[in-house]
């Protein structure tokens, strides 16, 4: 941009921080966020009452599995629906137009949206992870067993968050060219389902799934079962895979949005 106030990394980072903060503020006030958080919290707490159906597994493992499953399910829904809802609300309400007639580049707008949603998903995962940890430790103290160490639980939550942000980036890409929030949200959810089916893509009709991100890599139930935190090298390679997926979908979203007429 012609004015030095708008050029360079520092102004761009300032704009990204503002856009992400604004997106997070909007996301925290959506009805969807507390609704999904409440549903996930009820499911996590409900694992205490459902533990009799443990299919022979240890009680704490069952609580951990069900809790992480609940966080995964609600988080995936939030990751697919929230970006679509926020993106189209900004388009329809004129907020995007007001922002984009300022010295804000289209990719900055997309990155700000993704950053805000990623922050929302981090808060969501942290809050429900803390609830699950509290439940596991409370029940473990009653049974006289150490349920799970903090590094294991942190690794599990980090993996969940990575999966959610890939789904959010996927949904933002769809939103960047789609005509409605409903379509983008549903397509984002479908993308998440396909990502979970990716390990089954071995030849035949499912071969094409191999091009899709493998979201099953971020499933963390096995971590709780093993009781071991992720090895550093594995964590690094997963973080690399995650970064490639987010950058790929974020980049595609920016490209599509750059050519979109508002």
């Amino acid at each position: 941009m012609s004015d030095s106030r708008h050029n360079g990394i520092t102004p761009a980072l300032r704009r990204l921080r503002l856009l992400a903060g604004q997106t997070l503020g909007g996301a925290l006030r959506m009805r969807l966020t507390p609704l999904l958080a409440a549903v996930a919290a009820l499911l996590v707490l409900g694992s205490l009452w459902l533990r009799v159906f443990n299919f022979g597994a240890s009680e704490l493992k069952f609580i951990g599995d069900l809790g992480l499953g609940a966080i995964g399910l609600a988080g995936t829904l939030l990751a697919a629906l929230a970006p679509a809802q926020l993106f189209f609300a900004d388009l329809a309400g004129g907020a995007a137009a007001c922002v984009l007639t300022r010295p804000v580049r289209r990719w900055e707008f997309v990155a700000g949206q993704l950053g805000g949603v990623a922050a929302l998903l981090a808060l969501f995962t942290a809050a429900l992870g803390a609830l699950l940890a509290g439940l596991l430790w409370w029940r473990g103290s009653q049974l006289g067993v150490v349920p799970v160490t903090l590094p294991v639980l942190l690794s599990a939550c980090a993996l969940q968050w990575m999966k959610f942000t890939v789904v959010a980036a996927m949904t933002l890409f769809i939103s960047s060219y789609a005509g409605s929030a409903l379509f983008a949200g549903c397509a984002g959810l479908l993308g998440a389902v396909i990502g979970h089916l990716r390990p089954f893509a071995a030849g035949g009709a499912l071969e094409w799934l191999r091009v899709w991100p493998n979201l099953a890599l971020f499933d963390s139930e096995a971590l709780l079962a093993s009781g071991q935190p992720l090895a550093g090298s594995l964590l690094l390679s997963l973080a690399g895979y995650w970064a490639i997926c987010v950058l790929l979908f974020g980049g595609l979203a920016s490209y599509a949005f750059k050519h979109r007429e508002l």
Binding site: S2, R15, L19, A95, A97, C98, T101, V104, E261
Partner: protein, 254 residues
Amino acid sequence: MSATVTETWAVELRGFAKSYWLGWTGGRVHAVQPLSLRLSPGRVLGLLGPNGSGKSTTLKALAGLLKPTAGECHICGQSAGSDAARELVGYLPESPSFAPHLTGREFLAYCAGLSAVSEGRVTEMLAWSGLAGVAERRLATYSKGMAQRLGLAQAVLHDPAVVLLDEPAGGLDPEGRLLLGRLIRDLAARGKAVVFSSHLLAQAEELCDQIAILGQGRLLAAGSPAELLGARPEAVLRPSRLEQLYLEKLRPHE
């Protein structure tokens, strides 16, 4: 036209046309047929016409939000939508709904941050738009008139040379329209070129130095109100007799 001459116009449309492809069933729709208009700094241009006549499309093209199918749009000699042009433009979309959880001051501070404008300018704009008294209230509690004035304040926050307003008076009561009209005239007095779309013909007649009437994407008439109507408009914006009566009756109940 030479580049030197082009740069003297705050707003210039040269053969601007826009069409949309609506698919095999809808075919191609011509939103704006080749349109040429010019506006000098310190002047107000009103785009008039029924719904679907191409007013918003023209404003969006000038704001750089959509690309012309043919022709060119220039802001102070810069191609609309370019980085340089976006620094020179302020835009108020039609029926904006800004973040309802923010206060008026927080919203303007957010816009100021994006435009790298000082916080002092936020206070200045709140006072200018008559919103200083409600600056700490949440936007969810703002009336339509307050929201429009806030929208105008965010559009001029970074002191742009050209202000584009899409239906700024839509849904406003007479008092709100008068206030908005005074703000628009004040912008022109400060040397800004203002382009706005409206269905309110009386207000356009009072406010505008130039009027362009569009219909089905075509320019039907253009010129000053005096040229178009054969009479010079009043220099000072005053409420009409009915508006005066309306305001007098309302004032004791406020």
